[in-house]
Symmetry: C2
Subunit: 277 residues, 2 copies
């Protein structure tokens, strides 16, 4: 099959073997794949991954190795973390943190920039008829945006800033806009900010952003290594910074402001698909 394969270099291959579903896994024909900033970071060495990249997808179940559960022939999206099912994390429902987990297109499991993928049946979610493929392919990053609301208590009286007008930043705005807080998005791209304004989110062009410690919660979704330090200049003392960006490169930084201002920093990664239904 055709695939986009990474091993120090990214290459397009035509003769990659179609994967065989293991027990209780489905073979899925990929209809659409999204490109995540994490894919770009993998090219720079993030996670040390080698294999087919890509983890945002929508596809159709071609066959299942095990009990069918009515999925064959259905359009699906899928959670990308595959836990071992046996460790203390999996048993507590924290499969995203299973030390032996495989993650589609990120850790030890070939990803979705290919004609076919396999995933455990329990990771799959049927796509309702009224959702197009072009919408469904955003399920994984949308779930990641919802994960913020599980990690942080955002109150309607809070002043919130989302940093970064990329896909994840825009999805974070869509989600947080449901919470009735005072929400702003800051970014560099007028055309992208316009999308958020269309959803009644206040927007600020980065050049016009006042560097004042004014926000109760700052969501750092710039995908850039210096986003965190900017966030510390914008969050109020006693406030919260939610870290969504994972970048390959390190950066010189000083954490003293976290202590002095008694900031809480919450790392937030993948979200649960079932909460989206």
């Amino acid at each position: 099959m055709k695939a986009v394969f990474f091993d120090d270099n990214l290459e397009f291959v035509e003769d990659y073997p179609v994967p065989e579903p293991a027990e209780d896994e489905a073979l899925i024909k990929v209809s659409l794949t999204g490109i995540c900033n994490t894919d770009l970071e993998i090219r720079k060495g993030y996670s040390g991954f080698k294999g087919i990249i890509g983890h945002e997808f929508v596809g159709v179940v071609e066959k299942i190795n095990g009990r069918d559960r009515g999925l064959t022939g259905r359009r699906v999206v899928g959670e990308i973390n595959c836990g071992c099912g046996l460790c203390s994390y999996c048993l507590r429902g924290l499969k995203n943190h299973c030390p032996d987990r495989r993650v589609l297109g990120i850790v030890n499991k070939d990803g979705a920039m290919a004609e076919y993928i396999t995933l455990p049946v329990k990771n799959l979610l049927k796509v309702p008829e009224n959702i197009t493929d072009e919408e469904a392919v955003f399920t994984e990053p949308l779930a990641a945006a919802f994960e913020i609301t599980r990690g942080v208590h955002i109150k309607p009286t809070d002043k919130i800033l989302v940093m970064g007008d990329g896909k994840l930043g825009l999805l974070c705005c869509l989600v947080l806009n449901l919470l009735q807080a005072d929400l702003s998005l800051v970014g560099k791209h007028e055309d992208k900010l316009k999308i958020a304004r269309g959803q009644n989110v206040k927007t600020i062009l980065l050049d016009n952003l006042e560097m004042v410690k004014n926000y109760d919660t700052v969501i750092e979704s710039t995908g850039s290594a210096d986003g965190f330090e900017t966030a510390l200049k914008l969050v109020r003392p006693g406030g919260t910074v939610v870290l969504k960006s994972t970048v390959a490169e390190g950066r010189e930084m000083n954490l003293a402001p976290v202590v002095i201002d008694e900031i809480t920093v919450v790392g937030s990664r993948c979200g649960p698909f079932e909460l989206l239904m």
Copy 2:
């Protein structure tokens, strides 16, 4: 008066003017002063402070400019943060985060390595008769250790690691040992670890520490710039790192593990003296 004055260099001066207490301030004759790691960091440029250093003290009230409240002649310790009393932080009881605060020996206020200091009367706490000066001088760092319990919910079922066997690390152990959790202290100095063992705290010599993500909460009180990255190698996914160290120097670091492991990082600074009574 005699004082230890910092202005790019630390110098001992003999002719510093005795401070005059402003309205509702006390003039305190200092009996004993402690040395905090923050004092050492100020020498390296932390906080950009110029003036008399020192913020851990016990002393005797010599005179009060305003209503006495029975303090003249009494032994006292004192909270080091002096808020403006008028801003939204002060009005919410968060004077430690007042943007215009002065902090004894750290920000815009001469400190305690001198014969006399001034502090607002409301910052002072009488020292009970049965507490010696040598004990009372630890009030400020002990309150900082108690601050952890205000920022983080530590459960009796938690596995806790305190990193750093300096004064603050040992005081954190004394406080956290009250919470019935599974508590360990890791440090480099056998003689200091012995103090914690005397209080029934488990101790680990740094060379023997297994680098496994095993602890629900890790308290970073090493006072060293690389302590945070070590903490990330020891906290379990979904766990909490409490940052107590403030260091002047920055360091190259990568925050991706905070996101991937969904760690919560809680900056924790000064604690409230009144909770110690």
